[in-house]
């Protein structure tokens, strides 16, 4: 067990600082953008207050998250064990097989995506809190009337149903969306692991592109889109399983014959 943990730590050591930095920068940019949106829209002369979820869609929060997601995939794929050496030579001389090494890396990558997901939930909840605290202050300062329609005890709760991105981040009672998100995490974890491995064995890492496109294109969905969730899961599962099959098969062929 300790040996496998040290493999996970190996993956962590080469990427964890970059991942944390990326999450912090993403959170800072999103907070800045949302704050800017609030200040712009709750200005003197404004006749009505805009809603929490409108701010989410208007302030490019989702776009920033998307860009950050792509960068995260690149970090996990490109950085890997670090360029400039054939570290795989050492990994292939360990008492644990290369298949197990790949599984450890996939586990780490999945955890990183889970962390990214959690960080986005925290950011969004932080933005909600910011909305609740700053809106009354800004409205009072600028003489904008506050309506219960836009700021009340149910505002945040309802926003998690009304806004597609917020709902997909935390799907509340929609079980299928939670399952879809977990499948996405697993698919991304596997495909970011197998991508550099596939390239090393002269194969194409198409599966990762498929899962990335599926995530970017289908992640934000409204309430009750079961068909879309199922389609996304099928695509990601096919891509993930096939890439794992190819990668593990390649290991068997190349390493010990």
């Amino acid at each position: 067990m300790k040996e496998r943990l040290s493999i996970v730590m190996l993956a962590a050591r080469s990427t964890v600082y970059k991942v944390i930095l990326l999450m912090v920068v993403t959170a800072a940019v999103q907070t800045g953008l949302y704050y800017g949106w609030m200040v712009r829209h709750i200005s003197p002369g404004a006749t009505w207050l805009v809603s929490l979820e409108m701010g989410m869609s208007d302030s490019f929060i989702v776009l920033v998250a998307g860009v950050s997601f792509v960068i995260l995939c690149v970090i996990l794929c490109v950085t890997g064990l670090g360029p400039g050496a054939k570290s795989v030579y050492t990994l292939r001389r360990l008492a644990i097989s290369e298949k197990e090494v790949l599984c450890c890396f996939a586990l780490y990558n999945t955890l990183v995506f889970l962390l990214f997901w959690m960080s986005q939930i925290l950011v969004v909840m932080g933005l909600c809190r910011m909305y609740e605290v700053l809106v009354p202050v800004l409205c009072e300062q600028n003489g904008v009337p506050i309506s219960d329609r836009f700021l009340g005890p149910q505002t945040v709760y309802l926003a998690f149903y009304r806004d597609k991105y917020m709902h997909s981040l935390m799907p509340m009672a929609e079980i299928s969306r939670w399952i879809r998100n977990l499948v996405l995490l697993l698919g991304l974890g596997i495909c970011t692991t197998t991508f550099p491995n596939s390239l090393r064995y002269g194969k194409k890492g198409v599966a990762l592109l498929v899962v990335m496109v599926a995530t970017l294109g289908m992640f934000c969905g409204g309430v009750g889109l079961l068909e879309s969730d199922l389609a996304c899961m099928v695509v990601v599962l096919i891509a993930g399983i096939s890439s794992a099959w190819i990668a593990l098969g390649g290991v068997e062929d190349e390493a010990y014959i």
Binding site: G82, R93, L94
Partner: protein, 250 residues
């Protein structure tokens, strides 16, 4: 003992097809220091990679009669000029990682060799110079606690003093059960260090001799290599003479 039976390896296909190894059979008993010599492309690196199972090949490689698998591969270490370390990790982190995975990892030898090469322990390896990277590669191979230490051109780019000193240290620290297979072009430098020389040419073994046999016949390793490769020293004189006469004609 590492045994190679009829190992063949072909790279590419069609016009690019190249036979890197052609039915190579070789036995390497424990405790020997073997020099592996040959021109560029002779098959030295390919041979080592076949031993480690890094590449497809025909034929059979065994370690004490068993195929090489994750169960016994930790008995072999590998220092390569392609570098097999983790660039983002420090030397100290490497030591921790190796200690976790190789039960016979020698912390004592690690400290001593790091000190010998004057390598920093807390600096990521990617920030080392090329020479330091080569040295570190050798340090890790030496400290793994392996019975068989394969070294592929380990000191390409290092200065002569470093190399000579290292060979001396190596002779001093090697345990009787440790085997070193050293691939290099630097014949004269390792002549007094190795106990056996294996010569490869175009993917075939063309010479295999112990230094004791050479001593008995009063030949140096260089003489043996020249004989084996049918080295024609007159070709240098010939080309100079030909070029000299053609230039004076013009």
């Amino acid at each position: 003992m590492i045994e190679l039976k009829e190992i063949s390896k072909v790279y590419g296909s069609g016009y690019t097809r190249k036979k890197a190894l052609d039915k190579v059979s070789l036995s390497i008993p424990q405790g020997q220091i073997v020099g592996l010599f040959g021109e560029n492309g002779a098959g030295k690196t390919t041979l080592m990679k076949c031993i480690l199972g890094y590449i497809h090949h025909d034929g059979k490689v065994t370690l004490d009669g068993e195929p090489i698998t994750p169960k016994n591969i930790i008995r072999i270490s590998y220092a390569t000029n392609e570098h097999s370390f983790f660039p983002g990790l420090t030397a100290k982190a490497h030591a921790e990682f190796y200690a976790e995975h190789f039960p016979k990892f020698s912390e004592k030898r690690f400290k001593a060799l790091m000190e010998f090469f004057e390598l920093p322990e807390n600096k990521p390896i990617r920030h080392f110079s090329t020479g330091q990277k080569n040295q570190f590669e050798v340090v890790m191979a030496m400290c793994q606690g392996a019975d068989y230490i394969l070294m592929d051109e380990p000191f390409a780019g290092n200065d002569v003093f470093n190399r000579e000193d290292f060979y001396k240290v190596l002779l001093g620290i090697l345990e009787p059960h440790e085997t070193v297979v050293l691939s290099t072009h630097l014949l004269e430098e390792v002549e007094n260090f190795i106990g056996r020389a294996v010569l490869l040419h175009n993917g075939r073994i063309v010479g295999d001799v112990t230094t004791m046999e050479l001593e008995e016949t009063g030949r140096s390793l260089m003489d043996y290599v020249k004989e084996t490769y049918n080295y024609r020293s007159d070709r240098v004189v010939k080309v100079i003479r030909e070029l000299g006469s053609s230039e004076s004609d013009s």
